[in-house]
Amino acid sequence: MSINNKINVEQIKLSVENLDLFYGNNHALKKINIQIPANQITAFIGPSGCGKSSLLKCLNRMNDLISNIKITGQITVDNENIYDRKQDVTQLRRKVGMVFQKPNPFPKSIFDNVAYGIRIAGIKDKEKINNIVENSLKRVGLWKEVENRLQDSAMSLSGGQAQRLCIARTIATHPDVILMDEPTSALDPISTQVIEELILELKESYTVVIVTHNMQQAARISDITSFFYLGELVEVNPTNKIFTTPENKLTEKYITGRFG
């Protein structure tokens, strides 16, 4: 257990500046400022409707799919404004991948699922695709379980396997950042543990941002925890600090379960 009470700000991967987000008249995120360091796991926690998922979806512009949304402020990935007009959204989403709450494999074969991202990116070389698929499946520890049935439908996988497949599918496109929206909330405890260990391994190569309802999960795996409440960022601190001596009274209340 490394004791770490200061955020290491040497290498900032993602930076959110003065972000406001409106769904119609609903002011869902208010003046958010947060910096997300590279190769660390940053967790967003807070009660339902606090805006944590909305913020996550801003980071790879998945919010673009929602109509009636207005976003002001700036988000930069590697110092490039992702809401810039010149920004190619498909490129951005390859760089900033996303794993969802429910395992959502395509109704295609296991192989085709992992190959999807690279194929649509225009890679046609069969050998290259094979290699990437194999490496991605190995990276998530799924290769041994599926190597003999790559052509089977991905729908035949268990929930935990399907979620690892989704992670493999995301890393196949070589992202820098992986966003995770409650990635284990639909899984049983054992699968959850497997995914958590996987996330811990992933941080060596990727910057991970995870939204979770499960405070213990944030505690177990994240380096930095940010607490959101009613669309505001209440506190960002190293996870150890947040869970032992939070600075803000609201954070303390939430973490000790004395909310509301």
Binding site: M1, S2, E197, R220, N240, T244
Partner: protein
């Protein structure tokens, strides 16, 4: 390796740093008494600061582990026992300082009884640390039994040398070190077997309870 295993391992590493120092200072005390040569006693005082820092570090790590990892069952008992025996280790350091202070007031020759006592206490500390790091409950139980011998020996020294405050105090401090090793041992038994053997009337009762 699981995150909980990694974190417990890190805690163990800090703990080992601590026990290494504790053994080395108890060893210094023993050698000084045996050789009736107090030149190296300064080492005991030098290490004090170090031990204090490590005590804090162990507590911080343990709290973080409890807060973030939520260890369960054997992991939980281990962390809990470490929190408790941590202060015993630090107190052993303090008692060593007390012995050293008293020794400085003494002139050789040192009574044979005190040498035996120092030897016994050193063995107990070594065994307790051994039991702790290997989570060896049987060894921990042996140490608890040995505590009576030390008590008797110390009592006889107190009687024999009631005129020499230095010797009496040193003996008393050594006896306290033995008490701390008993506490450590009790915690080892708790960590390994989950049985609380404190505050039982007789030693046999205590160990009888720990007989599964």
């Amino acid at each position: 390796m699981l995150k909980v295993e990694k974190s417990v391992l890190e805690l163990r590493k800090t703990l080992e740093e601590m026990t290494d120092i504790v053994i080395s200072i108890v060893d210094t005390i023993r050698t000084c008494i045996k050789k009736e040569n107090f030149e190296t006693l300064e080492f005991v005082f030098q290490q004090d600061r170090h031990i204090d820092d490590l005590e804090k570090k162990i507590d911080q790590q343990a709290v973080a582990l409890l807060a973030l990892i939520n260890p369960m069952a054997s992991d939980l008992r281990f962390v809990f026992s470490v929190v408790k025996l941590n202060s015993d280790l630090e107190r052993i350091g303090d008692e060593c300082k007390n012995v050293a202070k008293e020794l400085k007031t003494l002139e050789p020759p040192i009574p044979e009884d005190l040498k035996i006592l120092a030897d016994k206490v050193y063995e107990m500390v070594k065994d307790a640390v051994n039991a702790l790091l290997n989570q060896n409950s049987a060894l921990a139980q042996e140490i608890i039994l040995k505590d009576d011998e030390v008590d008797k020996l110390e009592y006889s020294i107190q009687k024999k040398y009631s005129n020499s405050i230095g010797i009496a105090f040193a003996a008393k401090a050594l006896e306290r070190i033995a008490d701390h090793t008993t506490n450590i041992s009790e915690n080892v038994v708790f960590a390994t077997e989950g049985i609380d053997i404190r505050h039982e009337n007789s030693i046999m009762n205590r160990l009888g309870k720990s007989d599964k």
